[in-house]
């Protein structure tokens, strides 16, 4: 499990940047990969995985079901303003990674963050799709992909018991926090740059809604 978890983590940077729609793999697999393809969602999942893992078994028992519940609620709603959602996701990632950084064991707060992150991730992933069947497959894929990613990451983090491993988790937390804070600050200080950035990375390219990643139906 350790080796497979480590191998999966090594693969994350590669998958994280494949923002182009993946043609030909179908709705379900596009949904499955969606949480790993959106940087803000990936940061959120990494931070939350580390936090739930640091909380031990109790933290995971409480946080994981609440995350899945929140995800279901978020996916059921219509999508909101994508930039607002990305800001909320990054804020949540920054707060979560600060708790990781401090190695604070606060299971209730972690569970609340997990539920909130689930809602945000679901909202950020929901979108219009061609039909009911396609939407169902995409939603199931996102639900499974995000839940499995969090399960895997929190399991790996829970296994980091040696002192240097715990320090490594905190260092990773500081990296996530720094990345999230920088982009949040950019959005606050230079909204013009933020909109320029949005122009340069249109919604379909930078934060693809899973449904938008689907191949167009051939008439």
């Amino acid at each position: 499990v350790r080796r497979s978890s480590l191998a999966s983590l090594c693969l994350l940077p590669a998958t994280a940047q494949a923002h182009s729609p993946i043609q030909g793999i179908g709705e379900f697999y596009n949904g499955l990969l969606h949480p790993l393809l959106v940087p803000a969602q990936l940061l959120m999942l990494l931070a939350l995985g580390l936090l739930l893992g640091q909380g031990g078994l109790r933290g995971r028992q409480l946080g994981l079901p609440l995350f899945v519940l929140g995800l279901c609620i978020g996916l059921a709603w219509d999508s909101l303003d994508p930039r607002l959602l990305e800001t909320a996701l990054l804020l949540c990632a920054a707060l979560t990674s600060l708790l990781v950084l401090g190695a604070l064991r606060l299971p209730l707060l972690a569970a609340m963050l997990a539920a909130g992150a689930g809602v945000l991730l679901g909202l950020d992933s929901s979108g219009e799709s061609a039909g009911l069947q396609a939407r169902l497959a995409t939603t199931l894929g996102i639900l499974l992909g995000a839940s499995l990613a969090l399960l895997l990451l929190s399991d790996l983090a829970d296994r980091l018991q040696l002192p240097w491993q715990k320090i490594g988790a905190r260092i990773l937390g500081s990296w996530i926090c720094a990345s999230a804070l920088l982009v949040l600050a950019l959005g606050l200080l230079q909204p013009a740059a933020g909109s320029a950035s949005a122009t340069l990375m249109p919604e379909t390219a930078s934060r693809p809604a899973a449904a938008e990643m689907l191949p167009r139906p051939v008439p």
Binding site: L6, A7, L9, C10, L11, L12, P13, A14, A16, Q17, A18, H19, S20, P39, A40, L43, E86, L90, L101, W164, I167, G168, R170, I171, S174, W175, C177, A178, S179, A180, L181, L182, V183, A185, L186, L189, Q190, A193, G194, A196, S197, L200, M201, A205, S206
Partner: protein, 195 residues
């Protein structure tokens, strides 16, 4: 020790896989790559980051993790100043001086109290962060760029820490002090414009 080496190697190769897919990605991939390469291609950044790692490991078990945690967080402060357009005098000089000062501290085996070491590193982190922050708004994907350069910075710290593990070898301490001298000389080169 073996486990640490395996982990660092896995992390390194994991990040190498970023390069494999760079041409297939969109703006975010470009942002990630440009952010990741920024500290690596700037020789002054690269040398200073490795120096921070070596110095942290040299100072002992608390500094070995506190410096790499503190650096990116303080760097954010510098980054915010850069993004806000707050002018910081002599940014490039500060970056060059970071290599010179930390290199000299390693070479002379100076062991200040942890708070002072943190303060020294934090001051230089502001300069490095300012340089990165100034370039951030121009990046095609700000989040990808931020993740990239924070990752690269952290990995350079890890490289420095990994190098400092030679401390346990017979002539390890000498090797570390020689490395510190080389870093200090490089810093002098940056300051004088030779490098």
């Amino acid at each position: 020790m073996k486990k640490i080496s395996v982990l660092i190697t896995a992390l390194f190769f994991g990040l190498l896989s970023v390069g494999v897919h760079a041409h297939a990605g969109g703006a975010a991939a470009d942002g990630l790559m440009s952010g990741f390469l920024h500290p690596l291609l700037g020789f002054d950044h690269l040398v200073a980051m490795i120096a921070v790692g070596i110095w942290g490991a040299f100072l002992g078990p608390r500094a070995i993790w506190m410096l790499p945690i503190a650096f990116p967080l303080v760097m954010v402060l510098g980054g915010i100043l850069g993004m806000a357009g707050v002018p910081l005098p002599a940014v490039e000089t500060g970056i060059a001086a970071s290599a010179l000062v930390i290199g000299a501290l390693i070479a002379l085996a100076v062991r200040p109290p942890l708070w002072l070491a943190l303060l020294i590193v934090a001051v230089f982190a502001v300069f490095h962060g300012h340089a990165h922050g100034t370039e951030l708004p121009a990046a095609t994907d700000a989040l990808g760029y931020s993740i990239g350069f924070v990752l690269a910075t952290g990995l350079l710290h890890l490289c420095g820490i990994a190098f400092a593990l030679v401390d346990r070898l017979p002539h390890g301490k000498l090797a570390i002090r020689l490395a510190g001298s080389a870093i200090g000389l490089a810093g002098l080169g940056f300051l004088s414009g030779t490098l």
